[in-house]
């Protein structure tokens, strides 16, 4: 029988085969389709044999890639044929030609169901196969219970049951809501005891789907899987038919280990032990043999075992054994093993603790990046991308750059995006980052998206020390004979902003800069011209004294574009021309761009978005997230609320410049004075607050300007010594063994940070520790910025938090090493449990030549958990009266107050978020304030304060504090007292007089509110 029995079909296939070209083939196929169509029209005269023949022809034609849009009905009708050969063809052709949504399929449901529940095994198999391949919702609704019955029926033969298992798998996957699998865990467990390996193979696939959906329900199957695996691995009771080159069904072994990976872990110690015995045997016992098939099959099992071991997060010992194996694999000649070695090593990155061992293979992996096989190169690229961190960025990114010039076009875009991301994420220093991006643009400009060059501009703008360097580099690239348009954009932008920093270098006069940029104008597109016009305007502004010749040249260009058809170009030309005729006014408007608010890198976001949702990639992503949350260099990862996305950078829009003009002009001046000689090793100070950056006082906000910096460096000994007599410097100076002198006064820095939320906490010649805090009710998030100021790394970095009992503080991992000139961010979460004035201490140490250890108070102080609230007279007095006396309302006469006017005092209160309510107290010498305090125990609690001053003696006053909680009242009163008797001062005079005259605040009593209250009450 078969085709040999269908002569017409054989003839047709030969005809098609003998067609000399595609055109002839199409003609022959069209002719045949016409023939079949006519024959089907007079269906009456068709014998089942003829029908079968034509349907096969249709399938053949369809397989060749031609659409067959008729005859489906005939195929479906064959399913109801009484004889096996016709029925079989009907089933096979239907499942090949139709999809699950096809209307005709519905016509067959009844026949299919009859075949399934009928007694004919071969019919059952055909029907189950069809449903298993294309069964949709209606099949699930009407057939699922029957299929389930067949699968577990003891009277059914394995050949039916194995198909029932996969049929059920499809129905369940497609419509989990229709197929009821309640109580199936026991049945599955039973199925896994199956001796027949065909049934076991199918059941294992079904189990994977069930466990993937709800692993909790199938714990009972776990030991069964391990047993099945043991049976296979030990070759117990495996029929010869199921061994493949001496290996007991490698496919079933693989599937079983896959199923085990869907359970999150294995808790039962006995099961775990048996499993690891098997895995160990596979890991150790797989040898390379001559026979290719045997070798592949045994390695298929081995790779699956590796994946399972990784999944189970096994002991370090067996893990390093796995990495060692993979290390061997990536170096072998056999390309398949090399490919899989790289792939699995990438998966392995998600396992902690082994990354360092993987790094040892870096050289080998880089070799694979140059492999003649693109499949292997891709795996190597992925692995390098995944394993990159601060310690190896330079090597890896430089390899990627080198490879970029020769890489296939298919890979360039991915390659350049990955290089840009790595350079940004792990840059050991910023000038290197600039180098990388410029090289990237130079080598693969077509593949560098706008995001990439926007980002580099952002970095340069926000880092003053980088500006001269970037300008030099941009200038160098312009000398190249042919440069990519993106390079023109970025160079023009940077030189427009910062070329004046190069003024004294040869070839860098405004005129020369202008002409070299202007040379490129004829080669660029309309989108670049506006950037060039802005650059010209800026060059003009920076040309002091003005150069009439240059001015005329530039003006001529502006005038030329005044009638440009492109609206953007035209507007700029008109505006720049008008502005530049204004002379001095131009100075303000054309000043340097202010810093950009820090925001998440659009590149990283883009990479995350484009990553497809595959298991290993999401694991990589997970790891990347862990890295960034622990310690991300340079980039600020917090979502920048309300800041525009990068695509709206508005790099050169005139209006956005005008409202920030004067302060940015100041920047410009500082820069012009400072510069070129002093390259300040300051790391960037990320800040989400643009206005804060621009308007905040220079002294403490952010890193000090370069001028201040160098001045301080000149006299480190005189002012840097922490004043041990200063009562505020409670950091236990005595324990410190430092030979390194801090820069600036630690106590003053702390005091300043008590009042504001960002600034420098500590600085010495090697490191700067900045802090930025965000407070919400009783919670706070601080970020410590650890900036290495040197050209060599800081090692043995350790940061310990010693929290007071009332604060819960959690510091994320601090890396052991801070690379040269890099900045590391370490988030610190704070939760306020109850009112207290105690402070947390950061015990920080590092090694740079000598061991340096400092203990720094953290500005997570009581007033950070206050939120200002202003209260009207109607609200205040009832509250005030309702709290009648101690311990909720405490009064004290405070002496030794630093003299200040009532207005000054009001300012001081406001700065601590105790909001003064003017006019509530009729006496002008008195002051009333209110605030809300947040902690976990008190929740939000209103606090009221009244101060009565004595105009005759400003060194004393009477203070009354009231709140709904005794400890809070006491702590707040003491807190205010501390502020009044020792005002933090930025002046470098002698330490303020110590409060000698306080009868009540004996140090011993401070920690014991009860005793303190007792003292107060007499």
């Amino acid at each position: 029988m078969a085709l040999s029995g269908m002569r017409g079909l054989s003839v047709f296939i030969s005809d098609v085969r003998n067609c000399p070209n595609k055109e002839q083939e199409r003609l022959r196929v069209d002719k045949e389709l016409g023939n079949i169509r006519t024959r089907f029209k007079n269906e009456k005269g068709l014998t089942p044999y003829e029908k079968k023949k034509y349907v096969w022809k249709m399938l053949y034609i369809y397989m060749l890639g031609y659409d067959v849009d008729f005859g489906h009905m005939e195929a479906v009708s064959l399913i109801s044929a009484p004889k096996y050969p016709e029925k079989q063809v009907g089933y096979i052709v239907t499942s090949s030609l139709l999809n699950e949504n096809h209307d005709f399929l519905r016509l067959a449901i009844n026949t299919v169901r009859n075949d399934i529940i009928g007694r004919n095994e071969t019919f059952q198999c055909l029907a189950l196969t069809l449903v298993g391949n294309i069964g949709g919702r209606e099949f699930a609704e009407s057939l699922a219970p029957d299929v389930q019955k067949l699968l577990i029926s003891s009277s059914c033969r394995p050949l039916v049951r194995k198909k029932a298992a996969l049929c059920l798998l499809r129905l369940y996957r497609k419509n989990p809501d229709v197929v009821n699998v309640d109580g199936w865990s026991d049945r599955m467990a039973q199925l896994l005891d199956e001796r027949d390996l065909g049934v076991l193979t199918s059941s294992m696939s079904l189990l994977v789907a069930l466990v993937a959906n709800n692993h909790d329900a199938y714990w009972s199957c776990l030991p069964k899987c391990v047993k099945a695996l043991e049976r296979l691995a030990r070759n117990q009771d495996i029929p010869q038919e199921y061994t493949y080159y001496g290996i007991p069904s490698p496919w079933l072994q693989v599937k079983t280990m896959r199923a085990l990976q869907y359970f999150p872990t294995i808790e039962d110690p006995n099961t775990r032990r048996s499993l690891f015995e098997v895995l160990q045997r596979i890991l150790m016992g797989t040898d390379v043999v001559k026979n290719v098939n045997k070798n592949n099959a045994s390695h298929a099992v081995l790779f699956e075992a590796l994946a399972l071991v990784m999944h189970l997060d096994a002991e370090k010992e067996i893990m390093s054994q796995c990495v060692a194996l993979l290390g061997k694999f990536i170096a072998v000649r056999e390309p398949n093993i090399r490919y899989l070695g790289l792939e699995n090593m990438t998966r392995m990155l998600m396992v902690t603790d082994v990354q360092d061992i993987i790094k040892r293979h870096q050289a080998q992996i880089i070799t694979s990046l140059k492999d003649p096989d693109i499949s292997i190169r891709r795996r190597a690229l992925d692995l390098l991308y995944g394993m990159c961190d601060v310690s190896n960025t330079k090597d890896i990114v430089e390899e990627l750059l080198q490879y970029l010039s020769t890489a296939d076009f298919a890979m360039r875009e991915e390659l350049s995006l990955k290089a840009a991301i790595l350079a940004e994420k792990f840059a050991p220093d910023l000038s290197w980052y600039v180098d990388v991006i410029l090289q990237l643009i130079d080598k693969a400009g077509d593949f560098v998206s706008d995001d990439i060059w926007f980002r580099v501009v952002q970095f340069v703008t926000n880092n003053e020390d980088l500006q001269p360097y970037a300008a030099v580099k941009a200038r160098e690239y312009l000398d190249k004979p042919a440069i990519h348009e993106t390079m023109v954009k970025v160079s023009a932008y940077i030189l427009g902003e910062y070329s004046h920093l190069l003024a004294r270098r040869p070839g860098c006069s405004p005129k020369e800069i202008f002409s070299i940029i202007h040379e490129k104008l004829p080669t660029v597109s309309t989108s670049t011209i506006p950037i060039l016009l802005s650059t010209y305007a800026k060059i003009l502004m920076h040309t002091q004294p003005s150069d009439p010749e240059l001015q005329n040249q530039i003006w001529a260009i502006f005038r030329k574009y005044e009638s440009c058809i492109d609206a953007e170009i035209q507007q700029r030309a008109v505006e720049y021309f008008a502005l530049s005729s204004k002379g001095a006014a131009l100075m303000d408007i054309m000043a340097e761009m202010p810093k950009f608010p820090e925001r998440q890198s659009a590149l990283i976001k883009k990479a995350e978005d484009t990553e497809t949702d595959t298991a290993e990639q999401s694991a990589l992503k997970l790891r990347a997230q862990q890295q960034t949350s622990n310690a991300l260099v340079v980039t600020d990862q917090r979502p920048a609320n309300g800041t525009p996305p990068v695509s709206e950078l508005g790099l050169v829009k005139v209006p956005s410049m005008s409202n920030v003009d004067h302060s940015s002009a100041d920047h410009g001046v500082t820069q012009a004075n400072g510069t070129l000689t002093v390259v300040d090793p300051q790391p960037p100070e990320p800040s989400a607050d643009l206005l804060g950056d621009l308007l905040g006082p220079l002294a403490i906000e952010g890193p000090p300007g370069s001028a201040v910096q160098s001045e301080r460096n000149l006299v480190p000994g005189t002012e840097g010594v922490p004043n041990a007599d200063d009562a505020l410097a409670i950091a236990p100076v005595g324990e410190q063994t430092n030979t390194v002198q801090p820069i600036g006064n630690i106590a003053e820095r702390f005091q300043a940070l008590c009042l504001k939320d960002s600034g420098v906490l500590y600085e010495d010649p090697y490191i700067q520790i900045g802090i930025k805090a965000d407070w919400r009710a009783h919670q706070g998030r601080l970020v410590l910025f650890l900036g290495n100021k040197n050209t060599s790394p800081l090692v043995s970095v350790q940061a310990l938090i010693l929290p007071p009992s009332h604060l819960k503080m959690e510091l994320s991992l601090v890396p052991d090493t801070i690379p040269p000139r890099a900045q590391v961010q370490c988030p610190l979460e704070v939760i306020n449990l109850r009112p207290s004035r105690d402070v947390g201490v950061l015990d920080f140490s590092y090694k740079f030549g000598t061991h340096v250890n400092v203990k720094l108070r953290l500005p997570a102080v009581l007033n950070k958990f206050l939120q200002p609230i202003s209260v009207s007279a109607e609200e205040f007095f009832p509250q005030w009266r309702s709290i009648s006396g101690p311990p909720l309302k405490l009064q004290e006469v405070v002496r030794g107050v630093r003299p200040m006017s009532v207005a000054e005092m009001a300012n001081l209160f406001n700065s601590f978020r105790l909001i003064v309510c003017p006019g509530l107290d009729p006496n002008a010498n008195n002051l009333v304030a209110s605030t809300t305090f947040y902690s976990e125990s008190t929740r939000a609690m209103l606090c009221l304060i009244r101060i009565e001053t004595d105009p005759a003696d400003r060194t004393q006053l009477r203070m009354t504090v009231a709140s709904g909680e005794p400890t809070l009242t006491f702590e707040l009163k003491e807190f205010i007292k501390e502020q009044l008797v020792s005002i933090p001062t930025v002046s470098r005079g002698p330490a303020p007089p110590l409060p000698q005259t306080q009868p009540t605040s004996a140090p011993a009593a401070l920690s014991d509110p009860g005793a303190m209250l007792a003292g107060l009450l007499h």
Binding site: A2, Y62, S96, L159, L252, A300, P335, P372
Partner: protein, 142 residues
């Protein structure tokens, strides 16, 4: 779901057998097959048997003039699929006796039946050659 499709293509790029386990329109199939064939046929013996293409990984193996290509997703083990191809070939060998392109061409239905016994809904059902061939032999005798 594992296996997404199985293709048998000769070295001129003509499809000799195509079995899909997910629905693609005829245009999508044509495009996909064209791309895969171009990619795989230009590869040398020294290169690995895996090619990444769109969302698939293609595991392929060449036997004389015929390429066997299996498209899989991330749920499959590449080497296991590579040997599964060989199992298919061995099974066909046992039936046809040293199978060649023409056997598959002119006995398309048998090739289909065998595959049907081995793979269902993208999962491997049976790996025992005798179990796979029993129904076909029954039919031949009928």
């Amino acid at each position: 779901m594992g296996i997404r499709f199985i293709l048998m293509v000769n070295k001129q790029g003509q499809t000799r057998l195509a079995q899909y386990y997910e629905y693609l329109t005829i245009e999508e199939r044509r495009a996909l097959e064209g791309e895969i064939v171009r990619k795989c046929l230009t590869r040398t013996e020294q290169q690995c048997s895996f090619v990444e293409h769109r969302k698939y990984k293609i595991v392929y193996r060449r036997y004389a003039s015929l390429f066997f290509m299996v498209g899989i997703d991330n749920e499959e083990n590449e080497l296991a699929i590579l040997e599964f191809i060989h199992l298919v070939v061995e099974t066909m060998d046992r039936h046809f006796g040293n199978v060649c392109e023409l056997d598959i061409m002119f006995h398309l239905e048998k090739a289909h039946f065998m595959l049907e016994e081995m793979v269902m809904n993208g999962c491997i059902v049976e790996t025992s050659k005798s179990s796979i061939l029993t129904p076909i032999q029954l039919m031949d005798r009928a």
